[in-house]
């Protein structure tokens, strides 16, 4: 499209003519925008009593709605505008007019885009003007307008390109929808199942924004909104830039198509003969691939995975191919044999590639040579040390050695997107104890291998473990692998667990790992930031799992940079000297103490809450609506302090840091039962007994799960009756302690007249705290007794 075209005298009349042709679309489209824009806004304004928060949500809904409406009308309008190519009579009329094809295309394109973009722009601006009361909403609105306008341009040009390749409006519509859908399908297949398309070439780093919208321009603006909402500013900018590049590319190709198109193609097939074949083959690959991969995943049947995949790929791929063939050929006439051969060829090639990748190249068992690797990410941690890289490749080899016993490509190139599909297996306790390896649990930080007890069935439910390897090679390419290890794989002894554990422990004992894992301890700036921000909590977990606050009464220590630096130095030294270093895991999440590594060790957790200025780049954070001047973030350092960490132990001891037991029940709950308020008002011993009874389960659950790290349901099953009796006895003792003989069942003693200087609630809280502590001690006692037995 040159300046000559834009300045040609034929452009204007054709532009006006095409614009008039779109009159009906413009009117209907504008009506939609008016109704779902200003009118809807005014309606909400008249009904909403609280300003601000509603407007932001409304603004978002309207702008997204505008995007969807605009995408739909862009599609309709572009089909209508370029339908003149798909009617022999109109081709005669326009073909004979004294204008060249470039002018003809340009005029129609500009008219079509005008008919969608201008109403969109006008009504969006009006809507934003009504709703946007802050810089946030205005900024978001302008981003949305920008991305939607780009979508209109890209989608319009894309559809025009397809229109020039097709002979009918129906085919144009199908190809446009198909191309957008197939492309998104291919991308989903990639993200869902295939982490590496070409052996040794990692696409993950480049398959972001640009490829997402490449042949799916209708998804562009929505993608922009998602990026904006997720504050992915970089992706958003990249999306804008790439979309402009695509617009230029589509325009260039469309102009070529406009000049090359044979006019006689109108109502007569496709001007680009291979286009329907490509779409049919694409649909076949996407539909067959989806169902094939999912079937293979579900079947989880070793080598049969490949055959399950092929079977469903062939069936579903054929159905998709046949449906499109019937649509394009308007029945079963047309070139059935060549079409069938294309399908068979495509299927054969796709399956051959998969088989070739697996059995030929061995992509599923490929492990890069350590000397070619620049860095590798394993267990969420980056390793650059050659020795550690070698260890990771050895771990990788153990997995690939056993992987084909149960599973095979394409299944094992799956990524995390579909991990939720993996089956959960139930075992009895005996199997778990005797047959499953316990030493891997929790070691793989990214792993989802876990064991839970199902209270109703008394079975253990076990998930799978994910091993993730992300190699970056010296030549620039990467290798990406995700492996899902089922509990059944463990049980069948597919892998050399002893060696696996040994290598993982070796990796975790490396200085690089320790420094990476404890980044906050080893990074001067990080610790400085924390101490300057001010720590609110500082506690460690003791031998029996109790949570011990060491900041109690010494909170100044946690903000004391000198103290924190000394503590850090001591801990650094201990960690580096630790030959059997194990990273801490979430010690309270999974319940089973026999399978968690924290037992016998201390865990230090540092929590800090700090404030920062309002960030205007986050337009829809709810924080701003209710607390516009600050947002809070918690920063945590978690590490283990073993008994062997003499430096740290000594440092803490030198600073008179002695464990304080968790104190207040109210720290854990503000949901008092009704009997609490009843006791406040009547002060009767029987009411206190009822209150004690009501809080007993809650106390036990809290103590078990948050402090002792044991399964509360199991403990309650075993101990509840005895515990309840003991707690009630304690409750009676406390009643006597606090109220003595004054109390009788008929005469309530706790009232303001008798105790005018003591608030009732404070006294009741003291009783509850004592009961809460009693629960801790009781649970400790039962655990110790059980251990002794």
């Amino acid at each position: 499209m040159t300046l000559t075209t834009l300045s040609s005298k034929e452009l204007k009349p054709l532009y006006i003519w095409a614009l008039k042709r779109n009159k009906s679309v413009i009117i209907i489209y504008s009506l939609f925008l008016i109704v779902f824009g200003p009118v809807m806004t005014m309606y909400f304004m008249s009904t909403s009593s609280t300003y601000g928060y509603d407007y932001k949500d409304l603004n978002l809904i309207i702008l997204i709605l505008f995007q969807i409406i605009s995408a739909f009308f862009t599609f309709v309008s572009s089909l209508k505008t370029f339908s003149y190519l798909h009617n022999k009579r109109s081709v005669d009329m326009f073909g004979a007019l004294p204008a060249n094809r470039t002018t003809m295309y340009t005029s129609h394109l500009l008219a079509g885009i005008t008919s969608i973009a201008v109403p969109y722009f006008v009504f969006s601006i009006i809507t934003i003007a009504i709703t946007a009361r802050s810089g946030d909403t205005l900024k978001f609105g302008l981003y949305t307008i920008g991305s939607t306008l780009l979508m209109i341009f890209a989608a319009y040009i894309f559809t025009s390109l397809v229109a020039y390749c097709c002979g009918t409006v129906v085919d144009t519509a199908i190809i446009t929808i198909g191309a957008n859908g197939i492309w998104l399908g291919i991308i989903s297949l990639y993200f869902g199942f295939i982490t590496e398309m070409i052996p040794g070439v990692d696409f993950e780093s480049i398959i972001d924004t640009p490829l997402l919208v490449m042949f799916a321009p209708y998804g562009f603006s929505l993608m922009g909104t998602i990026y904006y909402q997720n504050e992915q500013v970089g992706s958003l900018v990249s999306l804008f830039i790439w979309n402009m590049i695509y617009i230029a590319g589509f325009l260039f190709v469309a102009l070529i198509a406009a000049n090359k198109r044979k006019a006689e193609t109108s109502q007569n097939g496709f001007s680009v003969k291979w286009l329907p074949m490509v779409i049919k083959a694409g649909a076949s690959i996407v539909c067959g691939g989806f169902i094939g991969f999912i079937s293979a995943e579900v079947s989880h049947s070793g080598y049969n995975n490949m055959f399950v995949f092929c079977f469903w790929y062939a069936i579903i791929g054929f159905v998709a191919f046949a449906i499109l063939h019937i649509i394009f050929a308007r029945g079963l006439k047309g070139k059935v044999i060549p079409s069938l051969l294309t399908y068979l060829g495509t299927t054969a090639v796709a399956i051959a590639i998969l088989f070739g990748f697996s059995f030929g190249i061995g992509i599923d068992v490929y492990v890069p040579s350590p000397v070619t690797v620049k860095s590798v990410q394993f267990d969420g941690m980056d390793f650059k040390d050659p020795e550690n890289i070698k260890t990771v490749t050895e771990i990788h080899k153990i997995i690939t050695k056993g992987i084909r016993k149960e599973n095979i490509y394409p299944y094992y190139l799956g990524s995390e997107s579909y991990s939720y599909d993996y089956p959960v297996t139930t075992y009895d306790e005996e199997t778990v104890t005797n047959e499953l390896p316990s030493d891997l649990d929790g070691v793989i930080k990214d792993g989802e291998y876990y064991i839970e007890r199902d209270p109703s069935k008394n079975y253990y439910v076990i998930g799978n473990t994910i091993f993730r390897f992300r190699y970056k090679r010296k030549i620039g390419f990467g290798v990406t692998r995700d492996y899902y290890l089922y509990p059944t794989d463990y049980r069948k002894k597919c892998y050399d667990y002893d060696k696996l554990s040994e290598l993982i422990m070796k990796l975790y004992s490396s200085e690089e790992y320790k420094k990476n894992y404890n980044e906050d301890l080893f990074d001067d700036e990080a610790i400085k930031n924390i101490t300057s921000a001010g720590l609110n909590y500082f506690y460690y977990i003791g031998e029996n799992g109790s949570k011990n606050y060491i900041s109690s009464g010494k909170s100044n220590l946690s903000t004391n940079e000198n103290f924190m630096n000394g503590f850090r130095e001591a801990l650094r030294q201990d960690i580096l000297e630790d030959q059997n270093y194990i990273p801490n895991v979430n010690v309270t999440s999974y319940g089973q103490s026999t399978l968690t590594p924290y037992v016998g060790k201390h865990c230090i957790e540092l929590h800090t809450v700090y404030t920062y200025s309002r960030d205007d780049t986050m337009p829809y954070s709810n924080h701003y609506d209710y607390a516009p001047n600050y947002d809070s973030r918690t920063y945590t350092i978690t590490t283990l302090i073993k008994d062997s960490y003499k430096n740290t132990q000594k440092y803490l001891s030198d600073h008179q840091i002695v464990p304080d037991v968790v104190t207040n029940y109210s720290d854990y709950s503000n949901n008092y039962p009704q009997s609490y308020y009843d006791f406040l008002s009547d002060g009767r011993p029987d009411t206190l007994r009822k209150l004690t009874q009501d809080v007993s389960v809650q106390f036990a659950l809290t103590a078990c799960s948050t402090v002792h790290g044991i399964d509360p349901n199991q403990w309650l099953d075993d101990n509840y009756d005895d515990y309840r009796k003991a707690l009630l006895k304690k409750s009676d003792e406390l009643y006597k302690k606090y109220f003595g003989s004054v109390s009788t069942p008929d005469q309530p003693v706790i009232n303001d007249e008798d105790y005018p200087d003591t608030p009732n609630a404070e006294k009741v809280d003291l009783i509850l705290n004592e009961l809460f502590h009693f629960t801790f001690e009781y649970i400790d006692e039962t655990i110790n007794n059980k251990s002794a037995v």
Binding site: E10, P13, D92, G95, A96, L97, A99, R101, A263
Partner: protein
């Protein structure tokens, strides 16, 4: 001068035009006739720049018409089924054509608007087939093109309008020295208005001549002999067709009229008359030569 040089146009494997070459002189009304599917409409589309020829070219005054807005501005094409959008009226189409064609004449448009029984503000798609053609022709004549291509223009028109159109076309040629190419199966109407004809069949040109010359080049003779005459007696003549009805022999003979008459007189017929051929008869005779006759079709 409109020159058609070795024009070839293929639709898939079918050759619609096969190395077609002939010239159409400026200021003529050229009748393009031919069998169904012979390529008449395709040729008009190639001439008017709708279709790109696969081979050869169409040139006006030495310049190719395809993708040449300047040349196309001198041409106007009305297809066999003129296209109008839902909301098209003669009035709003006149705005488009006026801005596209420099030769547009408002005077002419006003004059034609009075002449044709059409309300220029009515939606054209609501009009009858004949009225739609009148609307298209009204606009075409208002453009005052140097080259006007008309495909089956007489279809659906009543005899009065047909006369009017013929008159207007002749006027256009005399006033503007325009060249008009009419593709039609209505040979009777073409005979009235055309001065040149081109006969095409299966994508090739069979005949391209001035109409009178075409008519003079082929003759029908009714002849009676008092003795038996075998068909071998006419061997030296270019006889296209012989029909016998008793002693009456009908001959269709190509060639110079005087020589044919002299030859036949020498055979001493008892009765002989040379009859003029209509364009339709010329068409049928010529098509029979290329094997396109009713007997072949029935077979």
């Amino acid at each position: 001068m409109l020159e058609i040089k070795n024009v070839t146009k293929n639709f898939g494997e079918k050759k619609a035009l096969n190395s077609l070459s002939f010239n159409i002189p400026t200021g003529s009304i050229f009748g393009l006739i031919g069998s169904n599917g012979s390529g008449k409409s395709t040729l008009l589309r190639v001439i008017s720049g709708v279709y790109e020829p696969d081979g050869g070219s169409v040139e006006i005054d030495g310049v190719s018409t395809y993708e040449n807005p300047k040349v196309k501005a001198q041409c106007f094409f009305i297809s066999d089924f003129p296209y109008f959008y839902n909301n098209s009226t003669v009035a709003n189409l006149s705005v488009l054509y006026k801005s596209m064609y420099p030769s547009w004449s408002d005077d002419k448009f006003r004059k034609l608007a009075c002449m044709f029984p059409i309300n220029i503000n009515d939606r054209i798609i609501n009009m009858s087939k004949g009225m739609q053609r009148q609307a298209a022709l009204m606009l075409a004549l208002s453009v005052c093109p140097k080259y006007l291509m008309l495909d089956e223009i007489f279809d659906g028109l009543d005899p009065v309008v047909r006369q009017l159109i013929k008159k207007l076309l002749v006027e256009m040629v005399t006033e503007n020295e325009s060249t008009i190419i009419i593709a039609s199966h209505n040979l009777r109407e073409l005979e009235d208005v055309c001065d040149h004809i081109g006969l095409i069949h299966s994508g090739g040109i069979v005949l391209e001549k001035e109409l009178d010359e075409a008519k003079l080049g082929i003759h029908r003779v009714q002849i009676v002999f008092d003795h038996d005459v075998g068909e071998g007696m006419f061997q030296e003549l270019n006889v296209v067709k012989i029909q016998r009805q008793g002693k009456l022999i009908n001959l269709t003979i190509k060639g110079d009229g005087e020589q044919i008459e002299k030859y036949l007189r020498n055979m001493q017929p008892v009765y002989m008359e040379m009859l003029p051929l209509t364009l339709e008869e010329v068409f049928i005779s010529e098509m029979e030569v290329v094997g396109y006759d009713i007997n072949n079709i029935i077979q």
